[in-house]
């Protein structure tokens, strides 16, 4: 298995799916030039600018255009440069992409992939750092995935493109340079299955995207202190792999959820509510959420650091559960 960065894995996934299926089109701002992070670099040379299409700054209409193209048989991959700007495309995404299959009684399918980059990295401030995945998971008809490593990034992206539903593929900017092994060949990761990244017996940490690495490091530290920690990456937050998470908690009796979105109304709330419903009598302590404070993301690097859930918080929270 070759090593790749998260960014390279996404690019490879796009490349493979575009090669495999001529109905896959990529649309977004500056995508033909690779975009500001270079994810789509080289694609327009290989597939032509008619399939790797630069768009004007018109997020809502480009989203709608992709939905319309999907109704007519294409499989568009739209890039929204920052999730902060998905706010401009919510009407099309929520009122059309998510609902048309249902509203048409199954007549229409919307095989649309939305690649969007999120999260905190590089002190970009409140308009380029949000984590809004829980909005999307609240919308019936959308699937939402958030890979935390190169292999999942590639496998989930390929699965998203092949899915007959709108899938929001959320990339974390802070992970673009992370390296990892990526299986050779036609590597697909099924949407809706969590990954148990570390087995443990006494506490379950569920972590998303950028916080998975932090959780794994915390688990190492906790192991040093004698606490056996299971770490689960849901990978897909809608549909959510309730079974894997609930089974883990039944075993460990304790759970912590970590994400970069603000705690209130974050996906941690949904996971908590579901787990307590299915495993209340197994819980030895309340489920705790480690997430961002209830505030916009500050620009100052010093405040940004405060804002992020870190290893120390996780370790402290876990210890509290045993306290």
């Amino acid at each position: 298995m070759p090593e790749q960065t998260y960014l390279e894995a996404i690019r490879a996934g796009l490349h493979e799916e575009m090669s495999r299926d001529s109905s896959v089109y990529v649309l977004g701002e500056d995508v033909a030039l690779g975009g500001p992070f270079g994810v789509t670099k080289g694609l327009s040379e290989g597939f032509g600018v008619h399939r790797v299409v630069n768009t004007p700054i018109s997020e809502g209409t480009v989203m709608g255009l992709a939905i319309g193209a999907a109704t007519a048989g294409l499989r568009p991959v739209v890039e929204i440069m920052f999730i902060d700007f998905i706010t401009l495309a919510m009407d099309q995404l929520v009122n059309h992409a998510a609902k048309l299959h249902y509203m048409s009684g199954g007549q229409l399918k919307i095989p649309l992939t939305v690649r969007v980059q999120c999260g905190i990295s590089g002190a970009m401030g409140a308009h380029h750092s949000q984590s809004l995945e829980s909005w999307l998971a609240h919308v019936p008809g959308l699937k939402v995935v958030m890979p935390s490593n190169p292999a999942d990034a590639k496998g989930l992206l390929k699965a998203a493109i092949r899915d007959d539903n709108p899938v929001i593929f959320i990339e974390h900017r802070g992970l673009y340079r992370t390296r990892g092994k990526v299986p050779d060949g036609d590597h697909l990761v099924p949407i809706g299955r969590a990954a148990v990244l570390r087995e443990g017996k006494q506490v379950t940490i569920v972590a998303l995207a950028n916080t998975v690495g932090v959780a794994l490091a915390a688990a190492d530290e906790l192991a040093g202190g004698g606490i056996s920690t299971e770490v689960i990456d849901p990978r897909s937050i809608s549909p959510l792999d309730v079974e894997t998470i609930v089974e883990s908690v039944k075993k460990t009796s304790r759970m912590i959820i970590v994400h970069e979105a603000v705690e209130k109304g974050g996906i941690g709330a949904e996971i908590t509510a579901t787990v307590q419903e299915h495993a209340l009598y197994y819980l030895d302590a309340p489920i705790l959420r480690i997430a961002a404070p209830f505030a916009p993301v500050p620009a100052s690097p010093s405040l940004e650091k405060q804002f992020l859930p870190n290893q120390a918080c996780i370790v402290k929270a876990v210890r509290k559960l045993f306290g």
């Binding site: 319309g68 009122n95 059309h96 299959h101 509203m103 009684g105 229409l108 399918k109 019936p140």
Partner: protein, 325 residues
Amino acid sequence: MPTRKENSKDLIDLLRRMWLIRAFEEKVSALYAERQIVGLLHLGIGQEAVAVGTCSLLRPDDYVFGGHRSHGHALAKGADVNRLMAEIAGRATGYCGGKGGSMHIVALEAGFVTATGVVGGTIPLALGAAFAAKEKKQGQVAVVFFGDGAGQAGPFHESLNIASLWRLPVIFVCENNGYAEFTPLSAHTKVERLAQHAKTYDISSSTVDGNDLLAVRTAISKALGKTRAGTGPVFVECLTHRLRGHYEGDPAKYRELSQLTQWKSKDPVARFTRLLKSKKAITDNELQAIESEARSRAEQAAEFSLSSPWPAEEEVATQVTADLP
């Protein structure tokens, strides 16, 4: 006046199509008044010439998109009367199994891709179908119907830009009926003719009398010549008027009575009838047969709908995603 010679049979067929829509919507209105149909209904009575004038020139595989006032657009594109009425009535036999409803018609078999409850919402979708059509190179076009109220919404402008930039085979059909809900166009914009926006983008455009069926056909026919030839989008603004309230139940007190009377005298169905009669292209008997056939089809559709079952309870949460049952 038709630009190319239309024979009487063709013309009579056009009248028949308008009558079908008229009778259909009058029946829907009656059923609503009786509470046999519920929901939020926007009828296009008075605007039939735009739907028929446009869709009668389209290929079955052309893509049509509508909005909240689109029963007529779907019928004109060839949607089945029974399944359409059943959908509006919320029955299992409706096009969408009752999940869509009046504002959200989908009749894919007829090339009526979707309507929407979001003003202006399908304009970008039509661009997408046109984008796909362009790539598929089968000469298909996309047509989107929208009102004057959509002309002040951002997506409309973003769409004109992209359609012109990428020379998409899309025809924008603006039904300028002078009102968005209860307020006249002059309260929404200083731009009197929405076709003006097309000019900004160098999109070929025209403004026509939308109650004159043949004028609409002439404009659309020219538009199709261009879009099918690959020269990009065309914008056709049709000046028209809805003869009923904004929605069923709206007493439309904001409208001057004189205005309504004036527009009634321009009723597209009566007007086209007068034309055919003046050209002696139709007899009174034929006329009556057309109207009564339309009304009886509407009646049958109503019977079909009201005797159809309601959707099964469990349907409430099926078809949420394409991989579920």
